[in-house]
Symmetry: C2
Subunit: 371 residues, 2 copies
């Protein structure tokens, strides 16, 4: 059998460095074990069952997903302990959730009485009991109840509903992505953990059960996960890392396991190159809230003087912003994406490489989950 080498793969291609991936997976599992917290990694980053199996082997409590398509994929692959970290609302989604609850040990995030009431009716009708975490807003201002008494109130409401079993609280400190410096990221992680533990204490003081205190995000996992009283971390991006994690001081360039291989297709001007990776390959993420450390749309490995300044759908426009060698037309470059998660979601499959050798191709199992 011929060995497939990376130079034989056409571009743009999404590539996973298997050694870096395995190191990242092992490191977070070791952190969780050392900190004495459960690891429930987020599937939405990679959406690939082979990577979930590597995570399982390294030691995880269960899986986090952000939508029912992902839940259906992981449960279909035999994973049973699944947290849907997303409010499940509307009759079609609730019906799908009921089907999943018959097959798996499901937990769902809830942040409104409306959602709780819909789930309760559906589960009680089927004689099922669904585990529920109240989603708390730790500062992201997306979903979630405010910490403290509003959370206690919703927890009490859920506790009294048939078909639902209150098991604790969860939060996602996504605002850490807008922190602007590694020190601020750490402070947000500490605050995320302490605030959720405080609210969990208030829930318990109200006589309610609260065994699970679950925090999220790759940037804050290692600080929030060390706060006494936190029981679970849900990082996702750590398997790959990316330019945004580098900008936050969370990862080094050498810890980035997901790369896009692209070809220089033109050099229309001495100060401008064009590569064949655009927004349909790299996505347009610039980091939350205008992260000032992100200069372009991805890092060109080995070319610190080049900035990937603009993306069209299939063109990446690279500006020369300093002295140094330039790749020639036809040459290939490696790009570390700003945000790995949407890049995987744009690809049908990724090449798994060790050095220059393509070991295998992995299908992105749960991508394209738009109906």
């Amino acid at each position: 059998m011929t060995v497939e080498m990376l130079h034989m793969v056409d571009t743009p291609a999404v590539v996973v460095d298997i050694q870096r991936l395995q190191t990242n997976v092992a490191d977070m599992a070791a952190f969780a074990a050392g900190a004495g917290v459960a690891l429930r990694p987020h599937f939405k980053t990679h959406k690939m069952i082979p990577i979930l199996r590597l995570q399982e082997k390294a030691g995880i409590k269960g899986v986090t997903v952000s939508k029912l398509d992902e839940a259906e994929t992981v449960i279909g692959a035999g994973f049973t302990d699944v947290l849907v970290a997303y409010p499940v609302v509307g009759p079609r989604k609730v019906a799908r959730l009921v089907q999943l609850a018959k097959r798996a040990d499901l937990t769902v995030a809830v942040d409104t009485p409306d959602a709780a009431a819909q789930l309760s009716t559906a589960m009680a009708t089927e004689g099922l009991e669904l585990k529920v975490l109240v989603e708390v807003d730790s500062g992201l201002k997306r979903c979630g109840t405010p910490p403290g008494s509003p959370t206690v109130d919703l927890a009490e409401f859920i506790h009294c509903l048939p078909g639902l079993r209150l098991v604790g609280l969860m939060t996602h400190a996504g605002h850490a992505y807008a922190a602007g410096s590694p020190d601020k990221v750490r402070l947000i992680g500490l605050a995320e953990g302490k605030q959720l533990v405080d609210t969990a204490d208030q829930v318990r003081a109200a006589g309610l059960p609260c065994p699970v205190v679950s925090v999220g995000s790759t940037p804050t996992a290692r600080t929030a996960g060390r706060v006494a009283g936190v029981t679970e971390i849900r990082p996702g991006n750590y398997v790959f890392n990316d330019a945004i994690q580098i900008s936050l001081g969370v990862a080094s360039l050498e810890q980035c396991a997901l790369l896009v291989i692209s070809t220089v297709i033109s050099r229309p001007h001495p100060d401008r190159l064009v590569i064949d990776a655009g927004s349909k390959t790299l996505a347009l993420d610039r980091g939350a809230h205008g992260n000032a450390l992100i200069a372009g749309y991805g890092l060109l490995v080995g070319y610190p003087h080049l900035v990937l300044a603009r993306l069209s759908e299939e063109h990446g426009v690279v500006e020369v912003r300093g002295e140094g060698p330039l790749p020639a037309i036809g040459e290939r470059v490696q790009v570390i994406p700003n945000h790995a998660c949407p890049v995987v979601n744009l690809a049908d499959r990724v090449a798994v490489v060790r050095g220059e050798e393509v070991l295998e191709w992995w299908r992105v199992d749960a991508r394209g989950g738009v109906r």
Copy 2:
């Protein structure tokens, strides 16, 4: 057989309004016929063979594609007159192009001597002749030679190479998307046409053939397409239109044929709703160069006082910026995306609707063309 209704489809869903689509397709075909120019619509917008067949029925000269995956898809479906409006560079892509050139009437854009030389060698070796358009930069500053003598020089170089047949010039005035006002869009369209016609005259004055003078883009098609000497237009987005086209005065809300249906999943604050369409459904396009007329990440139909202010991967955060009714948790909203093209590329399939009825589902045939 049960008729599928839109309310039975789970969200987020990408929906094509068949009547609006057919009107848009017919209108551009009528414009091209009236202006006496060939219509070669860009496939990258929809990537769906059923839509290309509607365009064919309305009258087109051929198809424009932006990558070889798309070329392979349309040629596989029986379309033979195909322009790859993108520099084809590197041995793997050139080999794929050779295979396609054996099956179809291909034309390729070229903007560097390097690319021309690679193509010439490959085609001459196979005894093939490939039609070539020189890509001219009309102001987008992406690919392309400057208008005037640099373009004439490259045209002459191509004309002398074996295996290549110079057939004319093409440009894409994508900078019209950054124009900021409908008047400026029209001026850019006029300039795009005039400049390319002038350069074509210079090419002919040098004794070179230049039968094709091809301009692009939905915003400029109707102005550049009326400039005497222009022979072909290549709009893509017009089949759907989107919030960016509305902002440029190119389309009305009622001419937008692509919609995303989403469910309100939370209302964590009186001034904030959350919907289940995020960046993995709507993409993050804000219009080129900070189009000031684009206030958020899509228009919520019927709710002018709501702004889709932030997108996470699966969450859309909607801010209340005025007085008016609000959709309840569980209610559905229609979103007109800022940019239709990447939205289609994120979905596996789209629901084709007439009013509330789902007529059929179309697969996005050429999506996921990352290797």
